[in-house]
Symmetry: C2
């Protein structure tokens, strides 16, 4: 669906993001007639979904998939490369579903600086003075729009019209990516509900909800599309799992210690929401061993409407308990092992440089 563009093997991120968005726009255009046939209500709702998709920033999953393709020797100028770009872009529809549904599950009111989809439609219902419960209406619309995004992810992969052999190779990887991320989301809410605050539980969530979904599977999708052999795919798997977990661990630190003016969300919100992070689990682990009173105080405070002063106290305790050092060490260890695996591999030199940069961006960022 893409027009030919030169230097696809050297695309800077901005150009790549544009190419992804063109692919998404071209696809949405193919669906417009069907959407419109149902009626203006559907046209309007889908327009809201597509606005949401086009507000999505960094396209990190498509970028890992495309780099995975290049790194395995995929030819970005070959006839089939447009199809590869479409498959990469389709990851953004999966992500749209994940975010829209997650925002219902987490009862989040803002996303990407805008009201979340369910809040938007609740507001419309309220403003129109419609019948029934506005919040319920908003959630219902958001459930359906998330479903559409999920369907469109598959439709875009199908529309890419890969040859049979490639399609057959892709099928199990594409399938596992979606089944895993949904499992990770389920695990997340179950662990939070059950109050399991172990490091192991938090790592298992990171593994499936973030690492496999954000880095590992996208790389494997790209590699598979390039026809990579099992050894290279194994390297992608190691690199992806390690960097993906490190990425989440950095996110956890930013959720507690990040600068709100840089991260764009109130610092300490992870503590107020009671998010089960490795950081928190490590703090509780250490406190259980050395200082049961602090452990009890942490457990009592987490997930409550903490004052700024209380958040500051919890931050100090996490540092004192060595949890921050522990998480920083984990990030370093994971990044080192990922880069070691990458550097010892047959991944192309260009892609090695690119993936190394992406690894640092993911694990050393401040937002």
């Amino acid at each position: 669906m893409q027009s030919a563009v030169d230097d696809r093997d050297q695309w800077p991120l901005g150009t790549f993001v544009d190419a992804v968005e063109t692919s998404l726009r071209d696809f949405v255009a193919t669906q417009q007639a069907t959407v419109d046939s149902v009626g203006p209500v559907y046209t309007d709702a889908v327009a809201e979904l597509t606005s949401f998709v086009f507000r999505g920033g960094k396209r990190i999953r498509p970028a890992f998939a495309w780099t995975g393709f290049l790194g395995a020797g995929g030819d970005p100028h070959a006839a089939g490369a447009d199809a590869v770009l479409d498959v990469c872009s389709a990851l953004e529809f999966v992500q749209a579903c994940a975010l829209v549904h997650d925002d219902i599950i987490d009862a989040s009111s803002t996303r990407r600086g805008f009201p979340t989809v369910h809040v938007t439609f609740a507001e419309r219902h309220r403003t129109a003075g419609w019948r029934g419960n506005s919040d319920k209406f908003g959630e219902s619309v958001a459930i359906l729009l998330g479903d559409i995004a999920l369907c469109w992810a598959d439709d875009l992969v199908r529309a890419a019209a890969l040859d049979s052999a490639t399609s057959a190779r892709l099928a199990p990887v594409w399938s596992a990516m979606r089944t895993e991320v949904l499992g990770g989301q389920l695990l997340d809410i179950a662990v939070e509900a059950s109050g399991d605050d172990s490091v192991e539980a938090a790592l298992q969530i990171d593994r499936y909800k973030t690492a496999a979904y954000t880095v590992e599977r996208p790389l494997l999708i790209g590699g598979t599309l390039a026809g990579a052999g099992p050894e290279l795919l194994e390297v992608y798997s190691t690199f992806g799992a390690d960097i993906g977990i490190a990425f989440q661990l950095r996110d956890d630190l930013l959720g507690v210690f990040g600068d709100p003016s840089v991260t764009g969300k109130p610092s300490g919100d992870d503590l107020r929401e009671g998010k089960r992070t490795v950081l928190l689990a490590a703090a509780l682990d250490a406190a259980d061993e050395r200082d049961p009173a602090t452990a009890a105080a942490l457990r009592a405070g987490i997930g409550t409407d903490l004052s700024e002063a209380a958040v500051d106290d919890l931050r100090a305790q996490m540092i004192d308990l060595g949890a921050v050092d522990d998480v920083e060490r984990r990030i370093t260890t994971l990044t080192d092992s990922a880069l070691a695996a990458l550097n010892a591999s047959d991944v192309t030199e260009d892609a090695k440089r690119r993936l190394t940069a992406m690894a640092y961006t993911a694990t050393r960022r401040t937002s």
Copy 2:
């Protein structure tokens, strides 16, 4: 994925249902390792989803798709017929998502004689004494399980490994089916919220939420898999839209006048829930013209917790206003036009007999 079975062109419904369930079971087995890798929480939740899928009765959508395949001259004994059966079966995963998510949207507590999925997980949360709101937890799990069903529908189609040409033909039909039904669901909640009680709005919902999804698109999927030409597909489209709407109109009558001991749901529930049916719209239309007081009484009563006596009154009014006759006439007209199109077509004689029987079952049933 199916073992060879004789007489696939003459399968009685029971045997066909068994074949669909074997296809679904075989597919689920291929996903088990991925599911288990995430953890026992996921294994248990997915087991609940698959139980739900296997409780699903008549497999009406796969049956229309398979008949569409046979009717277009598809060879049920050919090498590719197992793949066709897999695609037919995949419709049951789409339906599982539609039902699980619809039950959240409608806040339904029972389905197929069992607690709905969100109620099941709310109960588990309550029984385990977990943290947070049990109902919210149940809905969250049900959102995710519906998503998995939707993904698996696509995964099963992909696993069917159709050849490229067939896959390319199928893509737009498969895509439209899902985009349309989600649009129909959205229209349904929007029409109910806005209070639009016109016949046109009710018919538009029937067209997309039921007819296209239940009969028309399944027939087109089957026909497309058999390589049917545009004329035959046009016949399927006419037949499917007409019978699909007639099916829903019969459902509407049963929802108000059906025998609870046969339908399995309390009669009059459609009136208590305020469902926007053609039946209700026709009654309101007639009342607006002839008897504004009755129109006002109908509008005031619909969607409230009506007593049995009040339900009886509304029933009598709907009969007196001619709405029941109107809907019965519509069913007859639609069935006649569908069968006329079918009989004038090149659909195979066997399939004509079968589709005629299915049309009568769908439009004359008592449950």
